[in-house]
Symmetry: C2
Subunit: 352 residues, 2 copies
């Protein structure tokens, strides 16, 4: 019999915050990073949730990742547009500060944008959005990593850029629409999972370093490395490719720090864009429209009668509700991992 | 022997401007609309170029489309964010004014956004961008049409929304990157062209009104109508679908006018977003980065040796250069169409 332990959200929050603080983070940084990672966990993004805690803390302890709020430097500020240099501060803190800054601009003048260069790993973009949609704001996050190339140009063989996700939180009268999609067919995470499981990918979305289309993860992990096809695949990959270039421009382009600088440390360029519908056609009209559209979508007849049509984020928000009400279930492996970190930091474990 | 007549850009400009003015457009409106339609023609978007002139003028003459600058109403303005009600003024004028307004905000504070509701037909989004990239600005245009449903939700059968394009102009040290991509697999234009030519679509990107995937345009033009699959198709359509919802929120949502209002007249919701890199990491660093990235793309080994990797907009800009230098060649059908309109307005034709 497998026993599943469910943890209260508040218990987990306090536990993880203390890990970060003991590792050297400011209270504010620890709180923000914990909230974002736990939110990823609650929304069901297990690979971008609490399993990142140990990796982040290892980064802080090794000195590669910074955990002080004051290390995040605001380089430019016009009232609605800002540039931050993250100097490799914990990514969730950098992105949250950027979103807060963009939201302040949006509340004042309808739109705000903040760009961060050299953030440490930023986790799951979907995990950042709900605090803003709860305020009736439309929030968008774009990211890329100029130290990494995984995805090929449309019609090309060589890996040039990253999956470059676009995430957005769209408020409605009910739950928000939360989308988080990469501009590549698949992410590196999925390719790695398939390799580890000895499986092929569900579709031939890889290009070997010799230019053969493939569904074999082995064709990606070669030297030189293979590539992932852009969103749209062979037939419509010019679209995903074009959008990925736009994401590069909005992130590393505006950041003034990108592939041209050949950074040798993993670090994200991230851009937060927040819009306040109150300064346009009004919040009520906005919510009426997004809710009406959501209703049209949910009323669609499904292609497969067993799989009703859903809105982006709907499944994650259902998981989130369940976890908040019933507690968060963690895998034995994750619990052991968190206990290890607590021991290393001479803090009591989750059970103590 | 087929004789191709090439027309000088200035000759065409003057001719088309006079058509619009005689039809009742203000000088400013005539100039802007002519510039945008001609730019679409120059970039090779023949279906969204000068062939729209007669349709637009018919709309103006029938009273359904307005041609006076003062009919375009600015409803809100914060300095960086604006809302316009187009009241069905000629779309290229509405979108150009929105872009100018957003560009003014960007120049002052780094970013500007302007939303237009109820613009008449807006043509080809790629045709709007170059004036802004020429100033070193990053310009993005989103659009949807709340009176039309063509594309299904991911996993759904029924048509819910429009192809919802995203277009962007990204300045580089050389020619700009110009992208203009719909969030559906294909556009209605292509489905119609295949029907007219008696051809099947190159991929099964349609869903019949009974839920069968199809490449037969006849399965789209039924009652009730079929649907077009979102970008990403069956495997990855959740991504195109999610991005299309974001475009709906950015356009009709912010506009406060959308599907909830069940408009019975074709009319676009369009949003212009302009960003000035000078207010972030600097124009030089931006151009260095986008040019470096463009260089990586162009240096990619091609999957097909006969088809070198290209940047979005590269082919269109080459056509544009050729047309500016050697004159614009128009099809006999288009010439006849323009002559008809000139005759109807009692103006001399192109040859006179």
């Amino acid at each position: 019999m497998i026993q599943t332990t469910r943890y209260n959200v508040q218990t987990l929050t306090t536990f993880v915050e203390q890990l970060f603080m003991k590792a050297g983070a400011d209270v504010e940084v620890a709180q923000v990073v914990t909230r974002v990672l736990l939110e990823g966990e609650l929304l069901g993004h297990r690979t971008h949730g609490l399993n990142l805690v140990s990796r982040y803390i290892d980064g802080v302890l090794s000195g590669q990742v910074k955990a002080r709020a004051q290390a995040l430097e605001q380089v430019a500020d016009s009232g609605v547009s800002s540039l931050f240099d993250g100097h490799y501060v914990l990514g969730p803190y950098c992105v949250s500060r950027a979103l807060d800054c963009a939201a302040a601009g949006a509340t004042k003048q309808g739109i705000g944008i903040a760009v961060v260069r050299r953030a440490a790993h930023i986790g799951c973009l979907a995990a950042y959005l709900k605090p803003y949609t709860d305020q009736g704001l439309l929030a968008i996050v774009y990211s890329s990593d100029p130290s990494v190339g995984l995805v090929c140009a449309h019609g090309g063989i060589d890996p040039v850029y990253t999956p470059n996700p676009i995430a957005a939180g769209i408020p409605t009268q009910g739950e928000p629409i939360l989308l988080d999609v990469s501009m590549s067919t698949v992410t590196l995470g999925l390719v790695g999972q398939c390799r580890d499981a000895g499986r092929r990918l569900p579709h031939p979305v890889l290009v070997s370093n010799e230019g053969q289309l493939s569904d074999d993860p082995g064709d990606f992990f070669t030297r030189p490395q293979g590539s992932i096809l852009p969103l749209g695949g062979q037939a419509f990959g010019h679209k995903g490719f074009a959008l990925a270039l736009l994401v590069e421009a909005l992130t590393s382009g505006l950041a003034g720090h990108g592939r041209k600088d050949a950074p040798d440390q993993w670090g994200a360029s991230a851009t937060a864009l927040v819009i306040d519908p109150r300064m346009f056609g009004g919040l009520e009209a906005f919510l009426d429209e997004t809710s009406f559209l959501g209703g049209l979508v949910l009323a669609s007849r499904p292609l497969d009668p067993e799989r009703p049509v859903r809105l982006p984020g709907q499944a994650g928000l259902a998981l989130r509700r369940q976890a908040v009400e019933q507690g968060v279930s963690l895998s034995p492996q994750l619990i052991a991992d968190l206990e290890r970190v607590a021991g290393q930091l001479q803090l009591p474990g989750l059970f103590q």
